[in-house]
Amino acid sequence: MGCMSETFIMIPGRTSKQGCGISEGKYGENYQSEITTLQVAPEDMERLGYTDGDTVRVTSEFGQIEVVVTTAKGDELPPGLLFIAYGDLSSRLMGGDTHGSGMPTSKGFDVTMERI
């Protein structure tokens, strides 16, 4: 029970809170809480029996992070997609290869998620 992990698509991105946090200081509370919170679609939260504040382990082909989940607002996220603000943790999921482009695949990659 609870050990099943399923695949989601991860979309790291900019948020205005994360942007403000850069100016306030990266070691400040606002920035740190924004970049360590994972948004999950309401349907997925309900289906998986998660509640806001649960800690999950998110694993990509290249890395693993532990983050706190929160329900995405309204219909911002469709089921199957996860969102996290850019930062130290989101970068840990990226691979080093850029496929000849200079850009690591930083959005829209597969991850698994399980509650811990």
Partner: protein
């Protein structure tokens, strides 16, 4: 009351350098060393100006120990001049004048110069070289744009004044009724805050931007398509895309602003190329332009300066004595993750927080010099860290808005710390003499 007011300094039309909008209409109220009001600034601009404080830190730390600026410059110059594969990276949050000096250093030491563009719109830079760029200034968008499309970009969070100052709300010469005269389409995989302002929101399947763009290209040419296949490929009904294409053709002046949704997702430069090709195609029917929404305050300046100094916009290598461009090889994610670089000069950016794990591990293992206004993971792990003044708040100079329009800075307060320009110029002079003595 008059005495209180006389102590306050007002700086009118100050320039905000937080994002690529580079708003130059901000009125700052300055009380001593603090900015207490930033009129007209957005939430990001207010955070930028009002949180500004000069931290009481040494100008320079060498291996974590306080040192003089001169000692730091000497050590930095020697590290750079003695290395086999030095790289210079960052530059999107500093002045054009500093960027110019940084390219000079790369030239003297036979190193790489790369900017945060490579992990931003670098793929779009590659696509521009493939299909060209149909472009315009933001002033033209404001005065003419009647069909505004945002693709994989969320300006409501990343560029909060984009809509009100440039793209949607303004009443312009040929769009006198402002928002009412414009049709707004947002294309994204998430229903972002920006999507809520759109007349039409196309929620496409993740990783299907390329397919959706090529579907629109086919529709522009009048190719008949299978509705089921289109739904399967893009997540959007064919009829909806046909309607959007109809509106695009009927527009007088169409604009597509695009963002990291395209460049950071699988396909990368191919996604940007598809969008630029669609834009080019549309010019058979009406006027259409495409513009990347640029993130950092002077990332556009970095592209311009590196281009006019080397002929290429980013990812440039000087090891043979002339510039060579090869994204995927000379770009910093690669030179670090492939463990090639043996020292680095990091200016106004934070790769220790933003890069992949293998890239960070390698950066941590080589001697590097970091210039930043604040303490960041990158300054903490640097061999030599310079505390520098903040561009636009403490120092003057020039930055380029996201539409390549250069804008002067109007500083508000002084900093005890040197500017990037000062530190880099001194490093350049020193590496120049070290290079000459060999």
């Amino acid at each position: 009351m008059s005495t209180v007011e006389s102590e306050l300094k007002i700086v009118t039309d100050a320039t905000c350098t937080f994002c690529g909008c580079v708003c130059d209409d901000i009125d700052l109220t300055v009380d001593g060393a603090h900015i207490v009001e930033a009129k007209r600034a957005c939430v990001l601009g207010k955070a930028w100006f009002l949180n500004h404080e000069v931290e009481d830190r040494p100008h320079c730390l060498i291996e974590g120990q306080p040192a003089t600026k001169e000692e730091g410059i000497e050590r930095a110059a020697r590290i750079l001049a003695d290395s086999k594969y030095p790289i210079i990276y960052g530059l999107s949050d500093t002045t054009t004048e500093s960027q110019r000096v940084a390219v000079g250093i790369a030239d003297w030491i036979g190193g790489n110069v790369d900017t945060t563009t490579s992990v931003c719109h670098g793929p779009s830079g590659m696509a521009f070289q493939g299909v060209g760029e149909v472009t315009c200034s933001l002033g033209e968008v404001r005065n003419r744009g009647d069909m505004i499309i945002f693709w994989g970009s969320n300006p409501a969070e990343s560029h909060p004044r984009h809509f009100t100052k440039y793209s949607l709300m303004p009443k312009g010469m040929f769009v006198p009724n402002g928002r009412k005269d414009r049709t707004c389409v947002v294309v994204d995989v998430r229903k972002t805050k920006s999507a809520k302002t759109a007349d039409i929101f196309l929620q496409i399947k993740p990783r299907r931007d390329f397919e959706a763009l090529w579907t629109l290209r086919a529709l522009a040419k009048g190719v008949s398509l299978d509705p089921e296949r289109v739904r399967e490929d893009t997540g959007v009904e064919l009829a909806v895309l046909e309607d959007v294409m109809q509106r695009m053709k009927a527009a007088k002046f169409g604009v597509i602003f695009f963002g990291m949704g395209l460049t950071m997702t699988r396909g990368k430069h191919c996604n940007s190329e598809a969008l630029l090709a669609l834009t080019r195609d549309m010019n058979a029917f009406t006027r259409f332009v495409a513009k990347p929404n640029r993130g950092h305050g002077n990332v556009t300046g970095a592209d311009n300066v590196v281009s006019w100094r080397t002929g290429y916009p980013f990812g440039v290598n000087h090891s043979r004595g002339y510039p060579r461009f090869n994204p995927g090889e000379y770009t910093t994610s690669d030179t670090l993750a492939n463990r090639e670089a043996d020292c680095a000069l990091i200016i106004a950016c934070d790769p220790m927080a933003n890069f992949s794990q293998p890239a960070r591990e390698h950066l941590a293992s080589i001697p590097y010099i970091a210039l930043d206004t604040k303490v960041t993971p990158s300054t903490r792990a640097a061999k030599i860290a310079f505390s520098v003044a903040t561009y636009g708040i403490n120092t003057g100079g020039t930055v380029y808005r996201m539409d390549d329009v250069p804008i002067p800075l109007r500083p508000a307060t002084e900093s005890p710390h040197p500017s990037d320009y000062e530190v880099l110029s001194q490093i350049e002079r020193r590496v120049q003499s070290l290079a000459a003595s060999r």
